[in-house]
């Protein structure tokens, strides 16, 4: 019962509602990250379903890649927030970031069955669809993050600073994600994709 209530509160936080107390916000932030790890593991199982070994490995690798990218990006966002004297608190930025990651991985998990079925029934569409689901999830998470921060800044001054912090966080998250994906490759398909060669494979092939 309590977990259902927590999940309901987490969904509310993801769509922009603020928790009543700081303690509740902290709990929901941690819950958002843990839920995101579980949801991304579901996508990992689907993306690696070409072989049982890869599926099991991806169920561990994908959540770890997301967690490590978030941990890499968060300090830069907090520094940007402080240097621009934004009125938004660091805990609020972290909370908005965690809930947006949850939203993004929710999209990934929703698309996981589609990714899995295309993997096994199409020779050409499986890998592009898996890649596409990642880009859709990233776009969703970025939009949710920008919206969550904008709602937290309602009525406050210094919006430019918090916008810059959002931009810095998203850019560094993506840059870190690219390299962690490369480090953990293969994730999508047995032979991997162009993105699984890191920034060198993406831009200097």
């Amino acid at each position: 019962m309590e977990s259902t209530v927590r999940l309901s509160q987490l969904m509310s936080m993801t769509v922009g509602e603020r928790p009543a107390t700081r303690a509740q916000e902290t709990m929901l932030t941690v819950l958002a990250i843990v839920s995101a790890l579980v949801l991304s593991a579901v996508w990992g199982l689907a993306a690696g379903s070409s072989s049982p070994e890869l599926a099991l490995a991806d169920a561990y690798k994908v959540p770890m890649v997301i967690l490590l990218s978030a941990v890499t990006a968060l300090p830069a966002g907090l520094v940007a927030l402080r240097l621009t004297s934004a009125k938004l608190g660091g805990a609020e930025l972290a909370s908005a970031f965690a809930s947006s990651i949850f939203g993004g991985t929710l999209v990934l998990a929703t698309l996981a069955p589609l990714v899995a079925i295309y993997y096994h029934t199409s020779a050409k569409a499986g890998v592009p669809l898996a890649m596409g689901s990642v880009f859709v999830a990233l776009a969703t998470a970025s939009m949710l993050f920008a919206r969550a921060v904008a709602r937290r800044m309602d009525g406050l001054q210094g919006r430019g600073g918090s916008r810059l912090a959002v931009f810095v966080l998203v850019v560094i998250f993506l840059a870190a994600l690219l390299q962690f994906v490369a480090l953990a490759s293969p994730i999508i398909g047995v032979h991997g994709t162009a993105l699984e060669n890191g920034i060198d494979g993406a831009f200097w092939r």
């Binding site: 107390t21 303690a23 902290t26 709990m27 941690v30 790890l37 490590l68 962690f180 890191g198």
Partner: protein
């Protein structure tokens, strides 16, 4: 290979960053437990204040 490193080097690097990830998860568990305790206390205080 990434950055000109061999497979063994990259495997060791992945294991090392995975350990960091596991440590982060453990830290999150501690943060959650502390926040849950604080939340319970705040709820109890709120109920007592309502009764008064």
């Amino acid at each position: 290979m990434l950055g000109g490193h061999d497979a063994h080097y990259l495997h060791v690097l992945w294991v090392a960053v995975s350990v960091v990830g596991v440590a982060v998860i453990a830290t999150l568990a501690v943060i959650y437990r502390r926040a849950a305790r604080r939340h319970e206390l705040e709820e109890a205080e709120r109920i007592l204040a309502e009764d008064d």
